[in-house]
Amino acid sequence: MAWSSFTPFSAAAGGALIGLAATILWLGLGRIAGISGVIGGLVGAARGDVSWRLAFLVGLLAVGVGAALLAPDTVASSSLRGPAIMLVAGVVVGFGARLGNGCTAGHGVCGLSRGSLRSLVATLTFMATGIATASLVRAVFGGAL
C-alpha cells in the first residue's frame, strides 16, 4: 500500500461535500445528482428542463477554473494518458453511463444512499471492470499509454 499518498480525511471530507450537494439538489429540485444524468440529460431535454442542468454544469466548471488558479495541483494539468486514449475513453464513459443509467455519482453515491439494488449492481460492476482495466493497462503498458 502507498501510505505516503493515503489521504482518507480529505477524501471523506470531499465525499461529505458531494453528499451535501446531492442533498441540496434533491431537496431543492427533487433531482438526483448524477453527473451523466444531469449533464447527459441536456441532450434532447425539454425546454423548461435545460436551465437547471446548465446551472449545475456552470457550477462544476467554475470550480475547475477556481482550482486551476488557486490550487493547480488538485486538478490534472497534464494527463497520464495520451489525447487519443482520453478522447476514446470519454466516448466509452459517456455511452456506458447513459446505457447503465448512471455513473459514479448517480449510482455510486445517490443510488447507494437510498439503498437501490440496481445501483449496488451497477457500482459493483463498474468497480470490477474499472479495476480490471486499470490493473491490466499498468501490467501490460507499464502505466504509459
Binding site: A11, G14, W26, L42, V63, A67, L87, L99, R118, G130
Partner: protein, 158 residues
C-alpha cells in the same frame, strides 16, 4: 433537440431552482476537488489494486458521501412538513425502474472500462476540463459525443 420529448412537462423552472442547481454544482465540484477525484494518479492508484502501491483513499469518498446523503435523504424521506415536496419543484423524481436488467449491467461494465482506462469519471473530467488540460478537455468532448451517440441510438427505444 426535439421539443416533443417523452419526459413529463416540467413547470417553468424558477430562477430560485436554477440558483439552487448552481450552488449544488459548486459544492459538488468543490467536493470532487477536495476528495482527490480530480487527480488521475489517485483514481488510477485506487483502481490498480495489484500494483503493490494501492491507494485506498478514494473509498473514503464514498464513505463520506453516502454517510451524509444517506442520512439526510432518510430525514427528507420521513416527510417532515418542510420536505413534503422539493422546495423549488413539484415532485421528487425517483428513478422508475427497479429491476436489474441487461442494459444496466452492460452499461456499467462499459462505463468501468472507460473509467479504468482514463482515470477520470464524468464529474471530475468536467471540473478538470477547464484547467488547461487538453487531454481532459478531449475526454469531456468524448463524453458529450458518447451522450449524443447513446441518445441517437439506444436512447430512442424505451
Amino acid at each position: 433537440m426535439s421539443t416533443t420529448s417523452t419526459e413529463p412537462t416540467e413547470p417553468a423552472v424558477t430562477r430560485a431552482a436554477t440558483l439552487v442547481a448552481l450552488v449544488a454544482g459548486l459544492v459538488f465540484g468543490f467536493g470532487l476537488v477536495l476528495s482527490g477525484m480530480t487527480q488521475q494518479t489517485k483514481v488510477l492508484g485506487f483502481l490498480d489494486v495489484v500494483s503493490g502501491a494501492w491507494d485506498p483513499s478514494l473509498a473514503f469518498v464514498m464513505v463520506g458521501a453516502i454517510g451524509v446523503h444517506g442520512l439526510l435523504r432518510r430525514v427528507i424521506a420521513a416527510r417532515p412538513r418542510w420536505s413534503r415536496r422539493p422546495l423549488f419543484a413539484s415532485t421528487y423524481q425517483q428513478p422508475a425502474r427497479a429491476n436489474v436488467d441487461k442494459r444496466l449491467v452492460v452499461g456499467a461494465a462499459i462505463f468501468g472500462v472507460g473509467w479504468g482506462l482514463a482515470g477520470v469519471c464524468p464529474g471530475p473530467a468536467l471540473v478538470s476540463s477547464v484547467a488547461l488540460a487538453p487531454s481532459l478537455a478531449l475526454f469531456a468532448v468524448g463524453l458529450a459525443v458518447g451522450f449524443v451517440v447513446y441518445r441517437a441510438t439506444l436512447g430512442r427505444s424505451p
